[in-house]
Symmetry: C2
């Protein structure tokens, strides 16, 4: 294999715009124009330059152009984790929009630690990103201040913050959790348990718990605190928590999980314990992952328009960067409850019930 002699890149003098200009017999500025705005250059000149670029193997230096133009064509994205996470789906839609418009994504993992997020944001600012993408709406005061002081277009994803840093695209976590709990209540369940992931520094989970609690109050459901557990987004943790729950409250009738993998883990454990779903225990998930509709019984869940949220966020942020005015700074992309076998009262007797769906906007919309 060809040995790469100088990893640091020193000593290798890459071709510059001057080299191209010399070969094409024009001024450097003309080369710059020919590459950025081909229409501003005569066809003849353009061809000479194109040929020179190809001959030399010239690759423009975007670092220099960024310094000069004050645009990096880069968006910094803070994402808690890519593992088992719908955050990856948001980011994927977002990144597709960016790429189509010549922007690239600089990635930072915060691991759900606001302090880490702050450090990442500062690093992004140092790199002079043109915009910033934050997952969720829980940030340190300094993060908010940095972003506003530096006037960096910023989009917050997955929530509907009351006081957004700049713009936001998401859905009502409160409303979705409320709707699921209400649905379970209307099916006659009185003791509805809640498995959520950790609420620390995660307003999405806080909102979902709040939505659950609001429904519990409104419908006069069992409000025993031992019906609630916080755990990792992890199948095994869900299995363990289900065993603990059944030990504490063997009479529990329904279980609402704020993540489909948690619901799946609970469902699998129920099967192992001989607890029939939905006959002995109804289970509902959250997120609308592909696996939900394939489980046996199929899983009732809330479909979040993950991909669409990412795309909308990308479009809005780029509009923002382009200086176009934003009609609504906080966009609610809604959610959809998908009722399937895991909460079907009939499925207790006859399995394989087809799922029915209906769409709701978040309350207050």
């Amino acid at each position: 294999m060809a040995k790469i002699s100088d990893p640091a890149g020193r000593g290798i003098k890459r071709a510059g715009i001057r080299d191209v200009a010399r070969l094409a017999g024009v001024a450097p500025m003309t080369v710059s124009r020919a590459l950025s705005f081909p229409d501003l250059v005569s066809a003849e000149t353009r061809e000479k330059i194109t040929a020179a670029v190809a001959a030399i193997g010239y690759i423009p230096n975007r670092v220099a152009s960024s310094l000069s133009s004050n645009h990096t064509m880069t968006i910094g994205a803070v994402i808690p984790t890519l593992r088992n996470s719908i955050a990856a789906d948001f980011a994927e839609g977002f990144s597709r929009v960016l790429r189509a418009r010549g922007y690239h994504l600089l990635l930072g993992n915060s691991e759900f630690v606001p302090g880490d997020e702050e450090a990442i944001v500062v690093e992004f600012l140092a790199r002079r990103v043109d915009g910033i993408y934050l997952t969720g709406a829980t940030h340190t005061e300094r993060t908010r201040k940095f972003l506003r002081d530096n006037a960096v277009p910023t989009v917050e994803i997955a929530s509907l913050p009351e006081d957004p840093i700049d713009i936001a695209v998401g859905f009502s976590n409160f409303g979705a959790a409320y709707a699921v709990t209400k649905m379970l209540a209307e099916q006659g369940h009185q003791s509805i348990a809640l498995f959520s992931t950790f609420t620390k520094d995660n307003e999405r989970q806080v909102e979902r718990q709040a939505g659950y609690r609001a429904a519990v109050r409104e419908f006069g459901l069992d409000d025993d605190p031992s019906l609630i557990a916080e755990l990792e987004m992890d199948l095994k943790a869900a299995a363990q928590q289900l065993r603990l729950l059944l030990a504490r409250r063997p009479d529990v009738e329904a279980l609402f999980c704020t993540g489909d993998f948690i619901a799946a883990g609970a469902l699998f454990e129920a099967q192992r314990l001989g607890v029939s779903v939905p006959r002995d225990l109804a289970i509902a998930g959250f997120e609308g992952l592909e696996i939900a509709e394939n489980l046996n019984p199929s899983l009732t869940t809330v479909r979040i328009p993950r991909y669409e949220i990412g795309i909308k966020a990308g479009e809005m942020l780029l509009d923002r960067i382009a200086g176009r005015s934003i009609e609504t700074p906080v966009v609610d992309m809604g959610f959809e409850i998908i009722e399937r076998e895991s909460t079907s009262r009939e499925a207790a007797n006859r399995p394989a019930v087809a799922g029915t769906t209906f769409r709701r906007r978040s309350p207050g919309e």
Copy 2:
């Protein structure tokens, strides 16, 4: 909310190193040194500068420093997709190593299209990344040439390429698939089906099919081509293909899926069809996802050290960038077959068999 007046960032004159220098009463060069190499500056000067930085709210401009120093502290990563993909796990380990050493990740999605990968790589080169991370070993000739000509440290992930661009970290896809098929054969299965994802431009899947075929030949198994299907990494597609397979070959005894989600989809469909696993059909997966051990029956699979591969790749690439010599350019991180209930001969009669594991290096190691 505070209005951000100027999205493009113009008109807002950020504080520069000169401003800090003036306030601290030193030269700009001294400020630069104090921030990059605090030890080279007297304690007194350092304090004055630290105070000035805080007072002004100075955030250094890394674009300028990159241009000047010829280091961007950025690695460009090409990842086919973040959805349902172990590629996200590789990247997560990789990114953690980078961050600990001050590097950041620039992300590009190739969607498994080598031409797109090439365009992304060129863009990365234009941005003068210090290193490049590629998923897999299938790249266009031009991509390889660009990277070698420009002497950019490059790591290829997930395969063991014979002719690596620079360095590589992965495992033997061939060896792992061979081992699974062999295991099934030794359990007495004669007709073993294969569900893999698309082999087009994906040498990992090509290698896995090749490993399967090698075992089929070696053990004199049923080599009916209709036992093989290519499909998306998708539970529903797996369900559909299982129905087709059972229609074609109702006598099939075992099914090897080159992805755990495919295996899960097939397992769920088998349950719906009343096909008992493993009694009527043994099923094995690939990847070693968390879900595999939680299914009922638990799923036999191949554990890939996903996270570890990412970490090793990060360490090697940074070593490469630092100019340290690399002992082995292609590192095999091995794999581990995890036998669980879904292929257990005894589980047909008594369920809930604990999984047993053993570790193997790739053949030839």
